[in-house]
């Protein structure tokens, strides 16, 4: 299957049709940034952009991504030697990363939120991130990180 991932056309061979986009990204395209905490759409750790919309990649069948544009957390990083983007810097500065397993999905979800609502209120932040579970932080520092990123102070 072929699709554009992080701006680059990518082809994965021998893809089994029942595979999820998450599996293709992680195991065939060498992009393990998106995570596999539940594989049923309940945790958000697999969040990616599909044609500009934030989705759970575990719920996208590989065939459904053919010819489409996917952006993963690796794509939001601008490459291995690039400076982290504002959302990522905010997460680091606020101490919002502990084990880090939820972090990639959150980075994409927060990026999505701020692109649509650059100055969200706290309730808006919570409703927008309700689909991203974190087991380590209790979400307080994640809220701080989003406020930091929205305030342009990261």
């Amino acid at each position: 299957m072929t699709c554009t991932v992080n701006g680059v056309p990518r082809t994965a061979d021998d893809v089994w049709e029942g595979e999820s986009l998450l599996y293709v990204l992680r195991e065939r395209l060498g992009l393990p940034g998106s995570k596999n905490a539940c594989e049923q759409g309940e945790c958000g750790s697999c969040t990616v952009y599909l044609d500009g919309t934030a989705v759970c990649s575990c719920l996208v069948a590989a065939g459904q991504a053919v010819g489409r544009e996917v952006v993963t957390v690796e794509g939001l990083s601008g490459g291995p030697d690039a400076e982290p983007g504002p959302v990522q810097r905010a997460f680091l500065a606020a101490g919002a990363v502990q084990c880090g397993f939820c972090t990639p999905g959150l980075i994409v979800a927060v990026d999505d939120l701020l692109s649509r609502n650059p100055h969200p209120t706290d309730p808006q932040i919570r409703e927008a991130l309700a689909g991203n579970l974190c087991r380590c932080t209790g979400y307080e520092k994640i809220m701080e990180a989003v406020r930091l990123a929205a305030g342009g102070q990261a």
């Binding site: 594989e39 759409g41 919309t53 719920l59 996208v60 999505d112 689909g131």
Partner: protein, 284 residues
């Protein structure tokens, strides 16, 4: 081996489904992909509906709105929130933003879960499901669509094309019980639509019976007793009786999410409250 079928027009999709009735349609994947990821289903073929543009469209069709089965919950909220407030309110309670971006009304109907959040508002609004196959199209009132838990009248060669529903002509409400504040499968849910023009009331109960269902006695009671002529505050006894009738219309079970007794109780409260709010809105 599993085939992945990707029609790009509605006609193609129907032809494929007729040819491969065992193919499982997938759009948002929020139900089907879970079953695949958890190895519960290994269909011989998946029928991808995300490339059929007709399904993602909605528009007016005379007096009703025709909402394509592929319209996502996010779009229902953003584009149809004014016209179908009950459905939009229900959509807002579905899963997470990521789920709402992909999940569709058609998918909800196709899965026919008694807990589907989209079902009660469609019942309350008296919506009709448009089913299509190469043999033609037919329209089935939502109330007749479900036949049992996760079962519907959908024939093996049929696909859900659209939902036909009139824009709200009165206040609509939806409320859902969950044991946490987000991302829950309903323990019970209730939808309400007031039609002051024809002095009728529509209801929909979710997650409290083998299928989503209406509460006909409650509807009749409300229709007969609401003070349509001189809208004034709602008599609390009326609201409470309405709640009791809604509760009595349910046939819930005990399961991991809740007990039957709680489901009945919660429905009586939700029905009472939503009627009160809808009536307040009408009086404004």
């Amino acid at each position: 081996m599993m085939d992945f079928l990707t029609p790009v027009t509605w006609a193609d999709a129907l032809a494929v489904k007729a040819d491969r009735p065992e193919a499982v349609p997938v759009a948002g994947g929020t139900d089907v992909m879970v079953e695949l990821n958890f190895h519960r289903r290994r269909p011989a073929a998946l029928l991808d509906l995300t490339r059929v543009p007709e399904l993602a469209a909605w528009g007016r069709d005379g007096d009703v709105l025709r909402v394509g089965a592929g319209v996502s919950y996010t779009r229902l909220i953003e584009e149809l929130g004014g016209l179908l407030p009950g459905l939009a309110a229900a959509s807002r309670t579905v899963g997470s933003p990521q789920i709402r971006n992909r999940g569709t009304l058609g998918g909800n109907l196709g899965s026919a879960s008694p807990a589907g959040d989209g079902h009660p508002p469609l019942l309350a609004a008296g919506a009709v499901v448009e089913l299509a196959s190469v043999r033609g199209t037919r329209e089935v009132p939502v109330a007749d669509f479900f036949t049992g838990p996760k079962r519907s009248v959908l024939a093996p060669d049929e696909l859900i094309a659209a939902v036909l529903v009139a824009p709200a002509d009165g206040p609509e409400q939806f409320a859902k019980i969950g044991t946490r504040n987000a991302m829950v499968i309903a323990v019970s849910s209730f939808a309400l639509a007031l039609h002051p023009g024809r002095r009728s009331v529509g209801t929909g109960i979710g997650s409290a019976a083998p299928t989503p269902r209406r509460a006909p006695e409650a509807e009749e009671f409300a229709a007969a007793h609401l003070p349509w002529d001189g809208p004034g505050p709602l008599d609390p006894d009326l609201a409470r009786r309405f709640g009791e009738l809604v509760s009595a219309a349910a046939a819930p079970i005990d399961d991991v999410r809740g007990t039957a007794a709680y489901r009945r109780h919660s429905l009586s409260v939700l029905a009472r409250r939503t009627l009160t709010w809808a009536w307040e809105e009408l009086c404004e």
